[in-house]
Point group: C2
Chain length 301, copies 2
């Protein structure tokens, strides 16, 4: 699992910082999460293959989280994309993107599918054999969701030496991988655990931005391996957080602690701060394993 940060600063793009966008690589998927202005240039800088992006998740309709989407969609057209593109985001996203295409008289030549979100409860929005994605309802000035990406339980792994010893026919391998007990060539029932190893641990990633401190997300993100949580402010500007519906580094750490996550990644820093290292210091006092997002940085888990 790899998280590539394309942009992680709040507000508008600057010469050296970018608004929110990141790419999650999980089980051979490349999920784009948020798409601020300049995302397609950041994708190129980070050498991410455009054609591998098939699913885009938009947290909310503030410009710094999606103003790069219309351009990216039209670039896909110029690149002669043919495969489906799925966009998950708040209701309204289809109207605004479609209006831009209509005014340009430029329709995509690939299937563009919108999945508009309106629920205030967590819901499953994507699923295939390997991964599932749930929304994480956040509390912001406008309707906003985070996203929880979870690997599905993998197959059990075959212990070939044990299989040979127990004389189990190849025809049963699939059943073994699925966890079933099987009958061997001598007609004996062999317990699955005798001839297989446990599947590798399921990894999970939760993206939570933008949001005020919201304790009830803890049940949804409980024990995720990695939590990206916005930290727009430091505690000394805590009074600004409820007004703007953002969080402080300390609050992000409190959520990480309550949810007992593996690693907390901070981001969405207000551009008023010169040194983001302060965010780590503040959060570390509450929760130990803190990383700082930065544009172009990536994390592997």
């Amino acid at each position: 699992m790899r998280i590539n940060i394309l942009g992680c600063y709040s507000a508008t793009p600057r010469t050296f910082t970018n608004p929110t966008s990141q790419v999650l690589e999980i089980k051979n998927h490349l999920f784009l999460i948020d798409c601020g202005e300049g995302t397609q240039v950041q994708l190129r800088r980070n050498k991410i293959k455009f054609s591998r992006i098939k699913h885009i998740f938009i947290s909310h309709l503030h410009g710094d989280h999606y103003f790069g989407l219309a351009g990216l969609i039209s670039t896909f057209r110029l690149l002669s994309r043919e495969s489906e593109l799925h966009v998950y985001g708040p209701k309204g996203i289809k109207e605004v993107i479609t209006l831009q295409m209509k005014l340009a008289d430029s329709w995509t030549n690939y299937p563009l599918l919108f999945h508009e979100l309106t629920s205030k409860e967590s819901e499953l929005v994507f699923e295939d054999e390997k991964v599932e994605v749930y929304t994480i309802p956040l509390q912001h000035r406008i309707y906003a969701n985070g996203f929880l990406f979870k690997e599905k339980p993998g197959n059990r792994k075959l212990n070939i030496d044990a299989i040979n010893e127990y004389k189990i026919d190849k025809a049963y391998f699939k059943k073994l991988q699925q966890g079933a007990d099987v009958v061997n060539e001598e007609g004996e029932l062999v317990a699955n655990e005798e001839v297989t190893y446990a599947p590798s641990k399921r990894k999970s990633y939760a993206f939570c931005s933008d949001t005020a401190y919201k304790e009830d997300i803890v049940t949804i993100i409980k024990k995720v391996d990695v939590l990206y949580h916005e930290a727009t402010f430091l505690e000394r500007h805590e009074h600004l957080a409820p007004k703007t519906k953002h969080s402080t580094a300390k609050q992000a750490a409190q959520i990480a602690k309550l949810a007992d996550v593996g690693t907390l990644i901070l981001g969405h820093y207000s551009t008023r701060y010169d040194d983001i290292e302060e965010f780590r210091q503040e959060a570390s006092e509450i929760f130990k394993k803190v990383e700082l997002a930065d544009d172009g940085k990536y994390f592997e888990f």
Copy 2:
């Protein structure tokens, strides 16, 4: 008069090139012409003061000419702008920008005024005591206008030595500057030309992008000092020009020659070409004074 090229490549932003946007400085105005994705970063890189931009002219509603506008408008809000912002562009521009503000529940705290264009004839769209701006109807896949910026005739300049000699009272200076003959202290009529100099030459700039070869713009842009004309293709790809409603470098030069302009600036190059110098070579065979636009480059006249 100064033209600052922020971006001059066709299609979508890349790591090292930007879509169309430029700033024209004329008679103390800073006019922003087109606003592709990434324009606000380019404005910063080129050290252009955001607050000096009061008028934005959008040629047409293809993304590479305006996808940076919604972000710029919201940045102005974050910068606590108070002064009016005027946006001139095709019908539809108000709807699409307003929809983005509505979905974000983020309205400007400064007056944002749209001037929507629908006419297929050249029309005066802006005028003050010093400058006038006319549309130049272009021929593109969708409704598109170029813009003609013309300084108004300045005042005649006073020849103080001659004025003293003719004994003309100060009270008449304004009339003299406006070109009137006046009566001196001895009751004699003094011809204006005897005591004033001609005003400095009126400068003019025409921006024409995107457009197919369109000969009837020549009457509108006749004898302008500087013509920016798109040159998406070289002649060897001439067959693509009518289909996509773009021009070749040669065609741009033909327009410059017919209109008898001072200088031709080429831009809007297709990203298929590695060396833009070829555009100059091709145009120079038809029209002598050719300049190549490039991102970050500026021209003074």
